[in-house]
Assembly symmetry: C2
Homo-oligomer: 300 residues x 2
């Protein structure tokens, strides 16, 4: 297992973590400069942040600093209540693949969506099996497009508390069942590409509770383990979305889970992804980044 205690060469910053500084939205360009200044070698930006700054400008800035993208956030949100909605999702996901390619991301992370309308507070229906079917169909179609672009797709199983409104893929087992169904030969093994075309993003916040986690990480294997996201589960957790903790402040055994990943050959970045409206977004972003570096060393 890699020793993270003496440097932060394997730290990546998901840019949602410093989306706000003292409560004020920050331009992605400023975030990138602040990361580069600290010797942080990788980021994972969100599409809306990229769009606000302009894709060409971000692409250029990333290249200037030699930054890697541990992932691109995010594609997905496949289910819809009608054909027009399904078509819009399909087209938007293809644009996400194109952007990920332009930024040379390691993978496009998929938050797959759930009951249409639920995120806005009014679900169009309750048929989660239908949503899961639409997700599978949506990934299958996008996979063909992504393969042609050589952009790996990483399904991110989200915590079951998001099953209604954000993602109806909620365990590693379920995500890997989709991977095995849609990419049974693990495309990378056919010699035509360097890596699997379809895999998973393992975010400890979403999966730490799962009694089958270790077994499913073993099942995934190196070629399907595309990303590793870290933060912490606080007790108590006061908000379902925006109360993620800094690594070390909660109850997740992060080093143990990283060990399970590395036992399978995972050798990528640990990407810090914290949404925290009540805490970290209220602080100075420089302090947040410095804390991420310190905790990456001590608690990841």
């Amino acid at each position: 297992m890699r020793d993270f205690s003496t440097d932060h060469r394997w730290l990546s910053i998901n840019t949602a973590t410093v989306r706000k500084s003292r409560g004020v939205e920050q331009p992605l360009t400023d975030i990138i400069e602040a990361c580069a200044q600290r010797g942080i070698r990788a980021i994972s930006p969100w599409r809306d942040q990229v769009a606000a700054a302009g894709l060409p400008a971000i692409s250029k800035l990333v290249k200037t600093h030699g930054l890697e993208l541990s992932g691109y956030c995010r594609g997905g949100m496949f289910p819809a209540a009608d054909a027009a909605g399904l078509k819009a999702a399909r087209e938007d996901n293809r644009r996400a693949v194109d952007e990920a390619c332009e930024l040379n991301a390691a993978c496009l992370v998929l938050v797959v969506g759930a009951l249409p309308g639920a995120l806005a507070g009014q679900a169009a229906h309750k048929d989660i099996a239908l949503s899961r079917s639409q997700v599978s169909d949506g990934i299958a179609e996008l996979l063909e497009y992504a393969k042609a672009s050589k952009m790996p797709l990483a399904i991110e199983p989200l915590h079951p508390m998001y099953a209604a409104d954000r993602a109806c893929i909620n365990t590693m087992e379920q995500a890997l069942d989709v991977c095995d169904a849609l990419d049974p030969i693990r495309t990378g093994e056919d010699g035509k590409t360097q890596q699997a075309a379809l895999g998973v993003a393992v975010d400890v916040y979403h999966v730490w509770w799962d009694p089958k986690l270790e077994a499913q990480i073993q099942r995934a294997g190196k070629d399907r383990l595309m990303a590793f996201h870290v933060c912490d589960w606080l007790t108590p957790t006061t908000d379902l979305l925006n109360d993620r903790g800094m690594m070390g402040d909660g109850v997740i055994e992060i080093p143990k889970i990283r060990g399970w990943m590395e036992n399978q050959g995972f050798a990528g970045y640990s990407e810090v992804e914290i949404f925290s409206s009540g805490n970290w977004w209220q602080r100075e972003s420089a302090e947040v980044l410095d804390t991420c570096i310190a905790r990456h060393r001590s608690a990841v």
Copy 2:
């Protein structure tokens, strides 16, 4: 599948649902009288409510009204940080079995506990595997005592968002793995007792999201399906504990899940268990009970 649309003979009220009326704690005796007045045939009381009113008084009142107990809430909370804590939990659980027997409950519901101290905001450790091991040991020991008393134990898998502080058994599959390990012959099959000694309480709020739910209900079978709890998952959910919805107000396919239960032969009560500090506990309890009756008919 039973038709619930014309009466409420299979409605049970978990007394937490009307714990407060207009925000004020209600005596369990008043709750029981209000249920009996409405022709509600079953309740599931909480131990603290029973203790406040006195076990003999409640036992007598239940018998007077011919009420059944669809369950008794609750045993469990097995993990502890030291031997004294484990011993205290063991003794308290035996008392819970005794009380359940005195009240002639259908089963003692087990909320198994998680990381010691986490519920108070300070976990003694992060080793969830250790907690799970202590839970398994605790159930094994209690099972011997409960068998002698002929009191079935129903493990209630709790939603994964409670894995840190309330219950580290978080899926039906995990609960049934424990059942199969500790009671492999399903005690009821040996002819000495009328029913299995160990099974599960299926609360739709905790398990609705699980893609393996139907399969695990089938695996459980009639003898392990000991209780069926209903409420609803709201979008958005604003509090991790006290924002459960009334049946029909959320996204859970309650009739579909009840159908899966009944396909296995389950023929017991649908027990309404709602914690709602911001909504139902603020209303007049008579209105809450009348709404439970109406929604039992229309949405369960």
